[in-house]
């Protein structure tokens, strides 16, 4: 049975109210199209784990997040419209705070299938008073103390990648943030991809595969799926475009009505953006490509 499906199908099939959801990308290549679809389907009571993501702001402002596992988030309500809106509708999330390395290692422990992982940061910080998932323990080998971070195992993980084959073998490059740990820790994996490629493309450069196909439940082909964030080898980000919903309640409501709830899917959203910003807009975000030298593989003796 094919794992290739539309964004609507993938999100409605796997992203259910109340789950713990990993959102990939650490500003680089976030699965923005998938996040819009989650918002559009009004899936709520989510627990989110992610690092530095911008896209998750929309889930917070729409009141869909009960708990947010984070290392960094603008929690100053006077400066964060997203959060002040969440508060105004009675949906202020619980923040479970780590350092960035703490989040990364919690996900790595999840990927490794162990209950915790030792760390040498966060110890001595007051974060431990408010986060029961970080502790200082006796190191069984040195006799000293060491930090310990409890594993995080997301129910579902979503990662946007540059290319993926029809089996789900997903390849991502550029800076990787917590992508490898996060997506491999997730029980159910949704891959959104700029394009679906022939399996030969994957197999001629398999070191680049971030998760193998058999671990992937759903594949969604979605060009410009990370816009307005940047994606290595594909397109530049457009920071002002992300700020478009901000300014006032009216601006926000109009943006959400027109661009999120008022469209059926991401392609319609992109079309609307083009209408607002001009025909040449997306051309202006395309990257001048620089190829690398190919790497070679093979196994038979050269004739």
């Amino acid at each position: 049975m094919s794992k290739i499906m539309t964004m609507q199908e993938a999100i409605s099939k796997y992203v259910k109210s109340g789950i713990l959801l990993f959102i990939g990308g650490m500003q680089h290549g976030e699965p923005f199209a998938a996040v819009h679809e989650i918002v559009r389907q009004r899936i709520d009571h989510l627990e989110i784990v992610s690092c530095l993501t911008i896209s998750t702001n929309l889930l917070i402002s729409e009141g869909r997040v009960d708990k947010f596992y984070t290392g960094y988030y603008h929690q100053d309500i006077k400066r964060s419209y997203w959060l002040s809106r969440a508060k105004s509708i009675g949906k202020y999330p619980v923040f479970q705070e780590y350092s960035h390395f703490g989040i990364a290692q919690a996900l790595l422990a999840g990927q490794m299938g162990i209950s915790y992982i030792p760390v040498r940061s966060q110890v001595g910080s007051d974060m431990l008073k408010y986060n029961p998932n970080i502790k200082v323990i006796d190191d069984p080998f040195t006799g000293g103390k060491i930090g310990a971070v409890k594993a995080i195992v997301p129910d579902v993980g979503i990662l946007h990648v540059q290319r993926c084959d029809e089996n789900g073998n997903a390849q991502r490059w550029g800076s990787l943030g917590v992508d490898a740990e996060g997506i491999n820790a997730s029980r159910t994996v949704i891959i959104t991809t700029e394009k679906i490629v022939d399996s030969g493309v994957i197999r001629r450069d398999p070191n680049r595969t971030i998760i193998p196909g058999y671990r992937v439940a759903a594949i969604v082909e979605q060009p410009w799926g990370a816009y307005p964030m940047h994606l290595a080898g594909c397109y530049l980000g457009d920071w002002p475009a992300f700020l478009a919903p901000l300014g006032s309640e009216d601006v926000y409501n109009n943006f959400m009505e027109k661009f999120v709830y008022g469209v059926k899917n991401w392609d319609e959203f992109l079309k609307l953006r083009r209408e607002v910003k001009g025909e040449e807009y997306f051309k202006g975000l395309e990257v001048k490509l620089e190829p690398s030298e190919p790497i070679y593989s093979g196994w038979e003796v050269k004739a």
Partner: protein
């Protein structure tokens, strides 16, 4: 400031960035946070430390020049990196002792170098919320020398922070970091503000230089410090930026300023 030579006009912010850049050595591998630390690191790279390695938390390790970024991760900071990996990889470099310099901003810093990036007031009922640790706690836990760059006000320089996000030397008694399992031989070594430069002696912040060229006085420094500040017996003036440093500083800032001007025009 030099009235006879207008090209040498500079403000306290410029002085802060230049002074911070002097902390980076040519053979440093520096874990650099976005904002002022990144600005200072790029200035160092374009002046006295062209060979320094810059480590960025998303997984970027690079030695080639790049444009001052407006976010932690941009295609410009990724492009032509020496190695791209994830956050864990670059953090492991630090945790294992292979990053000697850390360069971070801060919400508040106290007498003993403890940094608060989390909350002023009660955690659950805050007077002010900062965004949280990000990578700062990791940097200050891992790097041999951590330098903290921030604007100085009495509010941001309290005697004791309400919340320790990144441990400095706690209450100054030696050995506390090591007892908790933090790598020995790490911790804050320097603080650079828009008023002066500080180092740590016996775990306590000590004023070493004042930005006198920008009109800063010792009284002003004391007025913006929340405790009875220890002052170095050989207190000096911060060396003012050279004409060359100012030129490169302006060049480094220009693309970012241009982008910020566009942001307001294009937001729709």
């Amino acid at each position: 400031m030099s009235q006879e030579n207008p090209t040498l006009d500079f403000n306290a912010n410029d002085q802060m960035i230049v002074a911070a850049s002097h902390l980076i050595r040519d053979d440093d591998a520096a874990y650099v946070g976005v904002g002022l630390p990144m600005f200072a690191a790029l200035l160092a790279k374009r002046t006295h430390a062209p060979n320094c390695t810059i480590v960025i938390e998303n997984g970027i390790t690079r030695t080639e020049e790049f444009e001052l970024p407006d976010g932690t991760d941009t295609l410009g900071t990724q492009f032509h990196a020496d190695k791209l990996a994830g956050l864990s990889y670059v953090s492991y470099l630090g945790q294992a002792g292979f990053i000697n310099l850390g360069f971070i901003g801060a919400g508040q810093i106290d007498r003993y170098g403890n940094v608060n990036d989390t909350v002023i007031g009660d955690y659950h009922n805050p007077v002010h919320r900062f965004p949280g640790s990000g990578g700062a706690n990791d940097v200050m836990s891992f790097c041999e020398r951590t330098c903290v760059v921030l604007n100085q006000t009495k509010r941001r320089f309290p005697e004791k922070v309400d919340f320790i996000t990144c441990p400095g030397y706690f209450d100054g008694k030696p050995g506390q970091r090591e007892e908790l399992g933090i790598r020995p031989g790490t911790g804050p070594v320097a603080v650079v503000t828009d008023l002066g430069c500080y180092e740590f002696e016996n775990g306590e912040m000590v004023l070493k230089t004042i930005h006198t060229a920008c009109g800063v006085t010792l009284d002003k420094v004391k007025a913006e410090t929340g405790w009875d500040l220890k002052i170095s017996p050989d207190l000096k003036d911060t060396p003012p930026p050279t004409a060359e440093e100012l030129r490169i500083l302006r060049e480094t800032a220009a693309p970012l300023l241009a982008r910020h001007r566009r942001t307001d025009l294009e937001r729709r």
